[in-house]
């Protein structure tokens, strides 16, 4: 039963083959290697899933990675229910997006490179979710970050793309800084960084406090929050969300795979994986919940006014990720994972549809230049519509079940901020429905607003692209059906499946309340859709009027709350300024170099005086020598 090793290593092999031989030999055929590898992974994953369903959990070490005294860590794999869910999500999305890319990236000069990176990403992501210790998790964590960097900056000759890639990497580094320290704290606390012993011992430290940098803090809170730093970075939560919208510079399949379905959800996965630690700290959970809630609201509001089709979806992703953290923060890890799982399908689908639209529009991203595409690209339209219905939480679609479960558990759970985040969550559900349908209406309905040339060029995308759309669409509609709550007569299988790993919070509410929460969220969703229809289908002058009336608010939203500018002002520019003016200009040049050059200069001055003695005349030297002899002889004799 070690064929699970194929899951990560098939994509790795594909990466190596493509990067070594792709440029010269494979060229236009590179995708075969990658697709076969990822599909192979998917097949093994499905087989593994059945094993896990049958109750077989794998936890083995492959080989010893680092040994230094007490610090021992291996490359090892843990496949339990949580991992199985992630594996399914990752390999399914990855396979479909690989296939989609064949159509989307057709004719690109870096074709082999693109598939190599995608495979490498898949490998890293799989290593991340399959790790059985924190350091290997960290390996996968950084690895996916690297692939994200490569793929965002895929069009590296564009400055904005390479800027965005760099930004993503560095912003993530800020999060990883905390994550790394968290791992160190775990090691110093437990003496090991394997999940199993750490989680089983965690309870024993529940009430410990330690001195951290001079402050006495609750140990588990500290560890949980340090780990959460990593999640904030990777899952683009406030205040480290700035990289994700820029990451849309990458090719659209990348946005779908990395920046929607898989990598960005790693943060949620981390919190879920470490739930035994998080559960021991009410403070940490509260911070997770509030961060998630605030981020989701914040991103949703920005999403309302943007015009770039991909950026809207990106803000929607941030917002939905906030939702997942919100769930984790109120203790509903299973609900968070459920949302992660359904979100992967509908959000990937949204991105791929956007990619399809871009493909038709020759790379145009501005919503204001689209419109009426429905008749040109029906497959894209219908699939995107279903994805939007799903994200808006329309009953029956996948998004509805996961969102509803989150809201219900937030409302009914024991978290002190539960009710508050429930309110925010409901508002966000409304906003989400609004901006999602704003996008649909502006893109597919009404009249075409682009140039004549663009209109002439409009067409449905090739089969390689539409087939994955359809498959994902099925997922976006039906993936939620595995988690239909008991209230609606379902079996909540998803929750049951994950219960052994994540547990499940007690809901303290009546059926009536549950109905009420569900009704409110449905109303929020429908009113969002309705309002969008009103604004963008019926009375199209309202948005313009509102923009003028609330110009200040609009400006703030349009400029994304000026967070980028703020960071540039307080971090980037001061750092470079300090380097230039203080470190090079003053410390190095004026202080250290002054001493360094000053000493020889002083010696030089002294010798300039002294060298006057050297006349260069032979007889002067001889005379001085004779004088010396005279003095010595005289001293010896007259002593």
């Amino acid at each position: 039963m070690s064929n699970y090793l194929l899951i990560p290593f098939l994509p790795l092999a594909a990466f190596l083959i493509n990067i070594l031989f792709g440029r010269k030999y494979l060229k236009e055929n590179s995708h075969w290697v990658s697709i076969l590898a990822v599909a192979g992974s998917w097949i093994v994953t499905v087989a593994t899933l059945f094993d896990v369903l049958a109750g077989r959990v794998i936890n083995e070490d492959l080989y010893s990675w680092i040994v230094s005294g007490e610090f021992k860590v291996s490359v090892g794999f843990l496949i339990d229910q949580l991992t199985a869910v992630m594996l399914i999500v990752v390999t399914t999305c990855s396979t479909l997006i690989h296939i989609y890319s064949v159509g989307y990236m057709h004719g690109d000069k870096g074709y082999y490179r693109f598939f190599a990176y995608l495979s490498l990403f898949t490998f890293c992501m799989l290593m991340l979710v399959m790790a059985n210790n924190f350091l290997q998790l960290y390996f996968g964590w950084e690895g996916v970050g690297l692939c994200s960097y490569f793929l965002i900056g895929y069009y590296f000759d564009k400055k904005s793309a390479s800027d965005a890639g760099k930004k993503a990497f560095i912003v993530n580094r800020f999060g990883d800084f905390g994550f790394g320290l968290g791992i160190i704290m775990i090691f110093l606390t437990f003496g090991t960084i394997y999940y199993e012993p750490v989680f089983s011992q965690a309870k024993g430290f529940a009430s410990q406090t330690i001195n951290f940098l001079g402050y006495d803090v609750h140990l588990m809170t500290l560890i949980a929050l340090l780990l959460f730093c990593g999640s904030i970075g990777k899952s683009a939560q406030m205040p480290l969300h700035v990289w994700l919208p820029d990451a849309m510079e990458g090719p659209t399949p990348v946005s779908a795979l990395i920046h929607a379905a898989t990598m960005v959800t790693a943060g949620v996965f981390l919190v879920a994986r470490c739930s035994p630690i998080f559960s021991l700290s009410e403070t940490a959970l509260m911070i997770v919940a509030l961060t998630g809630a605030i981020t989701s609201l914040f991103a949703a509001t920005i999403g309302l006014v943007q015009n770039d089709i991909k950026r809207i979806i990106a803000y929607s992703t941030i917002s939905q990720l906030g939702y997942m953290f919100l769930a984790a923060g109120v203790g509903a890890y299973t609900a968070g994972m459920f949302h992660l799982y359904t979100h992967a399908f509908f959000k990937a689908l949204l991105f791929l549809c956007a990619g399809s639209v871009m493909h038709a529009m020759s790379g145009e991203l501005d919503l204001q230049k689209m419109g009426g595409l429905k008749k040109y690209m029906p497959v894209t339209y219908w699939t995107m519509l279903f994805a939007s219905l799903s994200i808006a939480g329309v009953p029956g679609f996948a998004g509805f079940f996961s969102k509803d479960e989150i809201l219900w558990l937030a409302y009914s759970g024991s978290s002190p901020v539960g009710k508050f985040v429930w309110v925010i969550g409901t508002v966000v559900a409304f906003l989400t429905a609004f901006y999602s349908f704003r996008l649909i209406f502006l893109t597919f309905h009404g009249k075409f607003r682009g140039t004549h040339e663009q209109e002439h060029h409009l067409h449905e995308s090739p089969k390689a692209m539409t087939i994955p759309l359809v498959i994902l669409c099925i997922g976006a509609v039906a993936s939620g059906w595995v988690g239909i709550p008991h209230l609606l007569g379902g079996g909540a299988h998803f929750t049951e499946f994950l219960k052994p790993v994540l547990g499940h919070p007690e809901a303290h509410g009546t059926h009536a309340e549950e109905w009420m929460v569900m009704a409110i969220s449905i109303i929020a969703g429908f009113s969002g859709i309705g309002l969008a229809a009103l604004f963008y289908l019926v009375k199209t002058d309202i948005p313009v009027m509102l923009t003028q009336k609330f110009n200040a608010a609009y400006k703030i939203l349009w400029n994304k709350y000026y967070v980028d500018e703020l960071y540039s002002f307080i971090i980037v520019r001061p750092a470079i300024w300090t380097a230039k003016n203080i470190l090079i200009g003053i410390t190095d040049a004026r202080i250290i170099e002054a001493v360094v050059n000053g000493v020889p200069k002083g010696i030089g001055e002294f010798s300039r005086i002294l060298r006057k003695v050297q006349t260069g005349l032979l007889q002067h030297y001889a005379a001085i020598m004779a004088l010396g002899v005279l003095i010595i002889v005289a001293m010896m004799l007259l002593r």
């Binding site: 990067i19 440029r23 080989y63 010893s64 990675w65 680092i66 040994v67 230094s68 005294g69 007490e70 610090f71 350091l135 960290y138 390996f139 950084e142 690895g143 690297l146 960097y149 900056g153 590296f156 000759d157 564009k158 400055k159 793309a161 390479s162 800027d163 890639g165 760099k166 990497f169 560095i170 580094r173 800020f174 800084f177 790394g180 320290l181 160190i184 704290m185 090691f187 110093l188 606390t189 003496g191 410990q208 330690i210 001195n211 951290f212 940098l213 750092a575 470079i576 300090t578 380097a579 230039k580 470190l583 090079i584 410390t587 190095d588 250290i592 170099e593 360094v596 020889p600």
Partner: protein
């Protein structure tokens, strides 16, 4: 007197390693200077032969002991009790291997770029190799000092003769900085000689105890020599100049081996000779290390010169090394030693890579580049590997070293660990920015049409790529050498004081 494990390979391997290159240099003298190809091939063969001879060190090394191995001992100046005493342990063995490897690469990288005084150049490189290996193998202080100073001369010539425009200034600065430091060390060595009753034997000296006051004085005397070499924060300014002006091979040797000697000196001499002083000075050393890490990293953000940027990044990375060493715990120390190897590999490789493109464009200004990835895809990929290793991405060697160092540093002092970790963030910043400015964006006119790197250049870089991943994926192959020696060293340092044996079962015990 400590016992050692005699060399049982049938031939004096360490002496061979030291004197083979020197003999090669002597034979080079006989080759006509017009026959450049013969000179190059001969140097290449000599350096490869030295590397092959050094392989038994890797294969036959006994990892289960901290004792000196492959030792040779002959009386040299009996009247002063100076011996020709060589040997290596788990701390030095990797550096010997690194030195022999780096020399091959230096010969290869200089193949076409050194056009004037070819013969003298290769003679310098080979003599350099012998002296470097000598430093790592010496077990007698006088012998050590001899090699230590002998190393200076070829390096001085490499910078001063084959360097860039401002080479004389850089060479003199390099020479004076290091000389001032090592002269103080010489005084320290002589004081030790008298204090210990007339012996220069390092193994013997490290088993004795010295009065605390004396330890403090000697610690600072040795510090002067080693800190300059490392280079630690306030005495680092020679490094950017030397690196910038040196020819590629010079930069590579400087980065890969020469500046390791400082850190090696701390481990081999300062810690075991002056354990109490070292422990007392730990806060100062950690502070200087952290300053070096952050200072070196931040200053990189403002560099406009490729080589200068990498030079300053060396300051930052070597800050990690000294941090690891003075964390005085197993993880920190092993991380520190591994990071020395890593830095040698990565920074060496970066200088090799920069040298390759410099040969094509003859400019070091970052602003003159841009879009190189479109023109030289293979080169860009390889450079990316080293960039990633430099910023410590997992699965590359940089990660293993930095992680262990931060772990050890954090254990020793939380602030040190946390601040050092910020260095990694800034490190990602300047390296990726550098990469972006050189390789990404629109192709600069000055680099348009450059030929991608050729087979010789790929072969030059290949060992480094292999090492980057080998250490990154299976570091135990290298960490395994160190365990016993480091453990023994830490026992020596911590004997009497805090004991290392129960390494942090629980952080609470340590902190409270």
């Amino acid at each position: 007197m400590e016992q050692t494990i005699m060399n049982n390979l049938g031939f004096p391997i360490l002496s061979t390693l030291i004197f083979l290159p020197v003999a090669g240099a002597a034979l080079l003298l006989l080759i006509s200077r017009s026959n450049e190809n013969l000179i190059k091939w001969f140097s290449l063969i000599v350096s490869i032969a030295a590397f092959i001879i050094s392989i038994p060190l890797f294969a036959e090394f006994n990892k289960s002991t901290h004792l000196m191995q492959f030792t040779e001992k002959h009386a040299w100046i009996p009247s002063l009790n100076i011996n020709y005493h060589l040997g290596i342990d788990g701390i030095s063995v990797l550096f010997v291997l690194l030195s022999t490897l780096i020399t091959i690469l230096c010969v290869l990288i200089s193949w076409n770029s050194i056009k004037a005084k070819t013969k003298e150049f290769y003679i310098s490189i080979l003599i350099m190799e012998g002296a470097m290996i000598g430093v790592f193998c010496s077990l007698d202080f006088m012998l050590f000092y001899l090699f230590w100073e002998a190393m200076l001369i070829p390096m001085y010539l490499l910078i001063g003769v084959w360097g860039g425009t401002n080479r004389i200034y850089a060479a003199v600065k390099f020479f004076l900085f290091t000389l001032v430091g090592s002269v103080l060390m010489l005084v320290g060595i002589i004081v030790l000689y008298y204090q210990a009753g007339g012996t220069f034997d390092i193994l013997e000296l490290t088993t004795k105890t010295y009065p605390y006051k004396l330890q403090l004085w000697l610690f600072w005397a040795f510090f002067a020599a080693f800190a300059v070499k490392v280079p630690m924060f306030p005495v680092h300014t020679w490094l950017p100049d030397a690196h910038t002006e040196a020819p590629t091979a010079g930069s590579v040797i400087l980065a890969a081996v020469l500046i390791k000697m400082g850190a090696y000196g701390f481990i081999r001499f300062s810690l075991p000779l002056f354990p109490d002083a070292s422990k007392a000075m730990t806060p100062a050393m950690l502070t200087l290390s952290v300053i070096a890490i952050i200072y070196g990293a931040v200053i990189c953000l403002a560099q406009t010169d490729l080589k200068r940027l990498i030079a300053y990044s060396s300051v930052s990375h070597m800050g990690f090394v000294t941090l690891g060493i003075f964390a005085l715990n197993l993880q920190g120390m092993e991380g520190g030693i591994l990071q020395m190897i890593n830095h040698g590999v990565v920074t060496g490789a970066l200088f090799l890579s920069v040298g390759m493109i410099y040969d094509r464009t003859h400019t070091r200004q970052i602003a003159d580049y841009g879009g190189v990835a479109s023109v030289m895809p293979v080169y860009a990929s390889i450079f990316m590997v080293f960039t990633l290793a430099s910023i410590g991405l997992p699965a590359t060697n940089g990660f293993i070293g930095e992680f262990l160092i931060i772990l050890g540093g954090f254990k020793a002092n939380q602030w040190a660990g946390v601040l050092a970790a910020t260095g990694i963030i800034i490190g990602a910043g300047y390296m990726l920015w550098l990469y972006q400015r050189v390789f990404f964006m629109e192709t600069n006119q000055k680099v348009a049409g450059l030929a991608d790197i050729n087979l010789r250049e790929i072969i030059t870089l290949l060992p480094m790529i292999i090492l980057v991943f080998w250490i990154g994926v299976y570091p135990n192959a290298f960490l395994g050498f160190m365990h016993e020696s480091v453990k023994h060293l830490l026992e020596r340092v911590n004997s009497g004081g805090m004991h290392e044996a129960g390494i942090a079962k629980n952080i609470l015990e340590i902190i409270k």
